[in-house]
Structure formats: C-alpha cells, structure tokens
Symmetry: C2
Amino acid sequence: MPGKQAVAAEETANAGRIRRGQLLHIVESAERAFAEAGFAGTTMTRLAEAAGLPKANLHYYFGTKEKLYRAVLENILTLWLDDMAPIVPERAPAEALGAYIRAKMGHSRARPHASKVFASEILHGAPHLRGFLTHELRRRVTEKTRVIEHWIARGRMAKVDPVHLFFAIWAMTQTYADFDVQMRAVLGCTALGAAEYEAGEETVLRLVLHGCGLETEDTNEGEQCPCRS
Amino acid sequence: MPGKQAVAAEETANAGRIRRGQLLHIVESAERAFAEAGFAGTTMTRLAEAAGLPKANLHYYFGTKEKLYRAVLENILTLWLDDMAPIVPERAPAEALGAYIRAKMGHSRARPHASKVFASEILHGAPHLRGFLTHELRRRVTEKTRVIEHWIARGRMAKVDPVHLFFAIWAMTQTYADFDVQMRAVLGCTALGAAEYEAGEETVLRLVLHGCGLETEDTNEGEQCPCRS
DNA sequence: AGAGAAATTGACTGCTTGGTCAACTTCTTT
DNA sequence: AAAGAAGTTGACCAAGCAGTCAATTTCTCT
C-alpha cells in the first residue's frame, strides 16, 4: 500500500511536469513582451520569439492570444492585493503605511513588467479586468479604507480621504515602473538604480507620512510632527 | 497697395481654410480614439469612423497612421510644458506648487484623452517621444528644479529631492485621467465628477504641501506647519 | 462663368495577423 | 518493449490591416 501510494504520488507529481514548466515559462516571457507593446501591439510571433518556441506551441498551451494575456494578468493580480496586507488596525499608521509603500516600491523595482501590463490594461479601459476591479479590488479597498478611518477617528493620523490616499500611493509607487523611460530621460541615466529607487521611496514616504500628519522614520530628530490639521 | 495687401491677407486666410479645419477635426477625434486603444490597437478604419470621414481622406491629409499619431502627440506636448509656468522663484513655494498642481489636475479633467495618449506612449517605451523627453522636458525640469533648490536653500520649504517631487506630482495628478476606470470601479460610480476631482485635488495638495513643509491653504487655522526636517 | 487647384471617395492591393492542422517526436506507464 | 498520451512543429489559411489610386466633386480665384 505505501508503495502504491508513493507511486501514485510520483505519478501526479510527474503528470503535467512538462506542462507546468512550459506554462510558467511562456507566461513569464509573455509578461515582458506584453509590457513592451501592450496587448494589441504584441504579435503571437513576437510572443513565440520571446519564449524561444514556435508559435503553434503557444497555441497548443493557451489556445488564443487573449487567453495567454489573461493568464499573464491573473498571475499579476495576486501581487497587487497581497501588498495591502500590512494595513491592519493593530499596527501604528506610520509603520503600516510605510510598510505598504515599501512593498509597492519593491514590486515596481522587482516586477516592472507586471506593473506595465497592468497599467496598459487599465489605461485602455480594462476590458479584461472589470470583474477584478469592481469586486476583489473594490472589496479590499473598502476594507482597508475602514482601517484608515479607524486611525483617523482615534486621532492617530490626520483627516485624509482614505480612498484618494490609496490612489495617490498607487500612482506614486507604480510610476517608478510604468514611466521609467521618462524618468531615465529626465535624470539622464540609462537605468534606474538603487540610488534612484531609494530617493523615490524616501520622497513618497515623506509626502504620504507628512500628508497624514505622521513623522517620517528617517527624520525623527525629536518629537512627532504636529501637522494634524 | 493696401487693397492688394488686404486681398492677399484674405487669400492666405482663405487658402487652406478647409484644410486647417479638417486637420484639427481629425487630430481631435484621433486623440480620443488613440486614448482608447493606443497606437497599435487603433486601426485606420476606427480613426476614420471617429472622424466621420472615409479612410482615404485621412490618408490624404496625414499620409500615414504614424504621421497622424505624431500630430496628435505634438498637439499634447505643449500643454505638458506650459503647466510648469507658475513655478518661478519670485512666488511663494506653496502658492507656486499649488497653482501647478491645480493646473495639472485641471488638464487631467479637461483633457483626459491627451493624458492617456501620452501615458500609453511612455508606457511602451516612448518610441515617438525620445527627443522630447531627453531635450525639451529634461531642460524644463532642470530649470524648475533649480527654482525648488533655491527655495530650499532659502529655507522656504523642506529639503525634498526636487526631481522626485516632480515625479510624484505628475503621477498623482495624471492618475486621475489615466486610471479613471480603476477609480470609478473602486468608488462605484459611472463617472468622475466635480466631487471626486475636488477630493483628489485636496489630497494631492495636502500630500505635496505638507511633504514640503508648507501649510495648506484650506487648513490655515493659525500658524505655519513646522515640519521642516 | 470657367479653369485649375484642392478635396473627396469607392475600389483595390500586398502583406501581416491570429489561428488551424496533420504529421511527427518524445515522454509515461504498464 | 510496446502502446497510448502528451508535446512539438512547419506549412497553411481566411480575415483584417495600412496604404494606393484614379475618377469625381467641390472650392477658389480671376
């Protein structure tokens, strides 16, 4: 029996081994390709080149370009929601918002292609993400909004519109992935390095924390910031 | 002679009257169409429909889809730079930055399609805007950066990285045009109205002004904010 | 009014696109 | 080892694409 079980387990572990590997490989290379040109601007031939496979092989696994694109999007969405985890009522507002901003900036740096695919999708009307936006995201934002309202009610941070605060944080953090070309042009550098990301993170932290009437960690030269209007 | 001049003037005013009108009409309707689907996602047939003209007529005026797209982009770029006009050393930082933010928010509301076309272009590597970014925009940012450094040196505002401050302002203001679909989904409304734009503007003003150690206008319940770390 | 320039447009074309398919190879299981 | 399942692939196709063109109408100026 144990032998048979082991064999069965080995079977299931083996079954679809190649499949799983190829699915992941194709989705990952497609993320990069879609980020460069968007859904409409990316051809199946280009996606095949990016994966180093013949076009027909991609169709074997995903059927259509649209289904491959959806797979790429879905791979990205989890990241999006998980970043919000630090925002819980028990934590101090400055600490929670700081952790959130750091997580978002980290993702902008580590997964710029994911951010670009997401941005391009929303920019063009989010035809493949309506459900995610109006259900999963909306629910999560409502939930986290209540945490912020709780902090405000307790006088732990300034009175700021929580939803617009999220819009601001999303915009400021994602811009480091989405608009990197513009930043590189303005800064006159060929790539955004650690220095630029650190300066960006510091700026975003400063604007958000001071805007919420909270002190920044790197400038605690004494007492708490009294901006509580 | 004066008669001949008048006639000549009338001639030049008349010559190309239809041309000018059609060029403008096509560029304006194309802006909307390109905003919806990006350069690659917008077909000449779609652009023709948007303008209410046959496809061949668009080719008569612009030659190629790419030239029409460039015309749309160039129409947008002037807006971009002109918004920065309020930022001059003579003005008070809070007033100047406030005016800049209001101008940018105003454009996001009045010309959302322009913002989306610009965003889509940069998102996909800015193949048609390299020159603008590395020359005109870079020069302008460097110039305005000096104004902010001047304010900081005089102790008129907190020490904030001026370039990243611009990145933050661009991101927060343009997101109201570019990501409106996401906002509408999260807010559960069908269109962003005056209320949403006012709440957004207030939030952006708050974050930027408090982040720069400047008081907000709507909350001057006494003295200046002492955040000057 | 008339002649030449400017503008309009339906019909067309060569090419690229997403997607199919049948022949083939490689794995997995017994 | 053998057979069936899973994976691979070059050749192919219909549809849609940007762009052309010649015939026609409308405009402008004298």
